[in-house]
Symmetry: C2
Subunit: 136 residues, 2 copies
DNA sequence: CCGTATCCAAGGTGATACTG
DNA sequence: CAGTATCACCTTGGATACGG
């Protein structure tokens, strides 16, 4: 907690995230980048993986974006990176302790998504249906 | 669980999210839209809020984007919306039961971000520093 | 008050070819 | 193998003015 002490809505004391200038907004945003949760999923439980293993495990990611995401995660201290200068070269990635601490929260979110897909899709159909019948 | 049974990386059995075509990707993405976690934060604990209250509570959000985000959350069944056709009009938002089930996972993520901002920032400085000294 | 309409900037993301 | 370089898209998000 942090920057304000005034309630914004009755009974709501501002989480830092609600504060315009709080850098936690950027951190959260980063943590929820398109491929970050998937990388964390693959590297959970102390697993190491090479670049191509990650690329294969995470369907649809391009090498460019995977590199960018891994770099920024490395920069933030979420993943470690080890280069073995052999031929062919070998690079391994793993979660640091800090990165490992994101596994539980990210897994919870991922599981929520996986478990509620069908309900959400039903809700969408129902909503779109009502909208259509309003128009007709 | 779902679509595949083959391990992608040794010991890694694919979560649905890793599957290219799994709609849970879209759901997760949506759940982590820029303003969704903040809306959920404000509406947690069964609180209701009017449009303008949300807008004030969530610093920096524009009316257009707030509307869009609320609409899509309503479409997915995460928030309820009640219009009171008075003058001036009054519209209330709240979390549905489904929406309320996202509070815990989203709060965990938000708290992670709020609690680790400084560490992440330190890591970034260190990383950028090493990069600079490599160049010089 | 609660939005919508319009226009616009930014950058996240992607496809692909190429290099050490 | 492990990326980088390049180009382009196109969605997300923002500023602002206006309408019911």
């Amino acid at each position: 907690m942090g920057h304000g002490v005034e309630p914004v809505v009755s009974g709501v004391f501002p989480a830092d995230i609600l504060n315009q200038d709080c850098p936690s907004r950027g951190v959260l945003r980063h943590l929820t980048d398109r491929w970050t949760p998937m990388i964390v999923t693959v590297l959970a439980d102390g697993r190491r993986a090479r670049f191509t293993e990650l690329r294969r495990a995470i369907e649809g990611v391009s090498p460019k974006v995977l590199t960018e995401t891994l770099r920024s995660m490395e920069r933030d201290g979420l993943v470690g990176r080890e280069v073995t200068p052999s031929i062919p070269p070998r690079v391994d990635y793993w979660l640091t302790e800090l990165g490992a601490s994101t596994v539980a929260p990210l897994a919870a979110l991922r599981e929520w998504a996986e478990q509620h897909v069908s309900v959400v899709e039903q809700n969408r159909e129902r909503y779109d249906g009502s909208a259509a019948s309003l128009g007709g």
